[in-house]
Amino acid sequence: MEQEFDFTYVLQFIPKILSTLGTTLTIVGGSLVLGLAAGLLAALPRLYKIPFLRRVSQVYVSFFRGTPILIQLFLLYYGLPELLKQADIDLSKTPVLVFVILTYGLHVSAYVSEMIRASVESVDRGQVEAAYSVGMNGVQAFTRIVLPQALAIAVPVFANLLLALLKDTSLAFTLGVMEMTGKASSLTTLTQHFVEAYLSLALIYLAVCLVLERLLRVLERRLLRHEARPVPAKSFESWRTKWLPFGLPQAFKLRSKGGDA
């Protein structure tokens, strides 16, 4: 049965778990790249209101936001090899990590697509009109006026997304990937020091989260330097949770309230 709590184990476990930080970050990085690309692709039909594709994108986003990531992991892991077998592609030797990155990538892309859509739509219509009024064409108005502003609005949402992704990768161990959570769990079977192992794990996640948050805050401040009163960071912490992407319009209302007046 369990051993008594011994803090020296925490100190001993932390470096061991840290040795798999690279795997965790690989999943985060890989799925982020995939998610941004797929998310942009999914957002376009809805931004440009393309008749049929718009529905497809809606269903896609709804599915990946409407089902738990854990279920998605299993679905792709068991389903994809079967599916591609029909096309004579053999995935039986493909490393699990690929499935994991693919799943997290698709999962994130649904949120990315919503993020892109919401931030573009939240740029005031008057900005586009002003751009047209000085003679810009559609492309110029988008790239020079809408995009930079949408980007600034999207950063806190993106921060939110990234941190949620990092935390979600802790579920990759269910498919046997040796990332940080998998490592921690293997340490417990060796030592039976459960609490110490999971405490070490939590502390590492916390540290990585805090570092990422700081970095993103700096980025946000740079992109938002045109707002006189910087958006009160406190009131925006809430939008940094993954579970709130649909609360976005509210966030934007708050922001514009802070900026105008």
Binding site: E129, V134, G135, R144, H226
Partner: protein, 250 residues
């Protein structure tokens, strides 16, 4: 010279403009008056194709388009000849005052950066904001933002500047500074079309007043004449409501 012929515009099934004909000479300052919903702002936005008219012809200087057939290129050409000052300023939020003015020069007129900057600084000085070049819109008062908006419009060196209620979003004490800037550039002989409720301004700056109601031009003429002896009953009613006694009796 600007000439509008038979401009029509409807939103869904609701007609906003029912055939507007208007001729404006170079250097004229035209004020458009009318109750809200009369189509003044829509008319202005049609001139810049921020709204696409359903029918009619627009001529600005030597360029004429048929609204029904106007494509991207024609719209672009028209926009190059007009500039707009918005009610809500619509300054580019992520750019400084200077960058706001430079933007059109750089991107549309393709001026070299140095030249664009020089011209923009001059214009901002002209509207009294030489000291606010690097301020972002959110750091400026409404009046200052609107003056940047005017400088941005001037920068394009358009044949006509369209003012869409340029002072109605402003606090009363800031209206004066914006009007005096508009007055100043009016004296330089730039053609302007102004939608406004500022009767005093209309009276001393405009040389032509157009009164619109329900999507039509009801009456037009010199401000002195129109204000003192309007021919149409609707104009009289409107003037009575909008002006305190004695303002327009000269």
């Amino acid at each position: 010279m600007i000439r509008l012929q038979g401009i029509e515009k409807s939103f869904g099934r609701h007609p906003m403009l029912k055939g507007i004909d208007l001729e404006i000479g170079t250097g004229e300052v035209v004020v458009i008056l009318g109750p809200s919903g009369s189509g003044k702002t829509t008319l202005l936005r049609c001139l810049n194709f921020l709204e696409k008219p359903n029918a009619g012809r627009i001529r600005v200087g030597d360029y004429e388009v048929d609204c029904r057939t106007a494509g991207k290129k024609e719209i672009q050409q028209l926009r190059l000849r007009t500039a707009m000052v918005f009610q809500q300023y619509n300054l580019f939020r992520h750019k400084t005052a200077l960058e706001n003015v430079m933007e059109g020069l750089l991107v549309v007129r393709k001026l070299p950066k140095r030249e664009a900057r020089e011209q923009s600084v001059q214009l901002l000085e002209k509207v009294g904001l030489g000291g606010k070049l690097d301020a972002y819109p959110s750091q400026l008062s409404g009046g200052q933002q609107q003056r940047v908006g005017i400088a941005r419009a001037l920068a394009l060196n358009p044949e006509v500047i369209l003012f869409d209620e340029p002072t109605s979003a402003l606090d009363p004490e800031l209206v004066g500074e914006v009007l005096s800037v508009i007055r100043k550039i009016a004296k330089e002989g730039i053609t302007m079309i102004v939608v406004t409720h500022e009767m005093g301004f209309a009276q001393d700056v405009a040389n032509h007043v157009v009164f619109m109601d329900e999507g039509k031009v009801v009456e037009e003429g010199h401000p002195n004449r129109l204000f003192s002896s309007p021919k149409e009953e609707r104009t009289r009613q409107f003037l009575k409501r909008i002006t305190p006694d004695g303002v327009y009796s000269i």
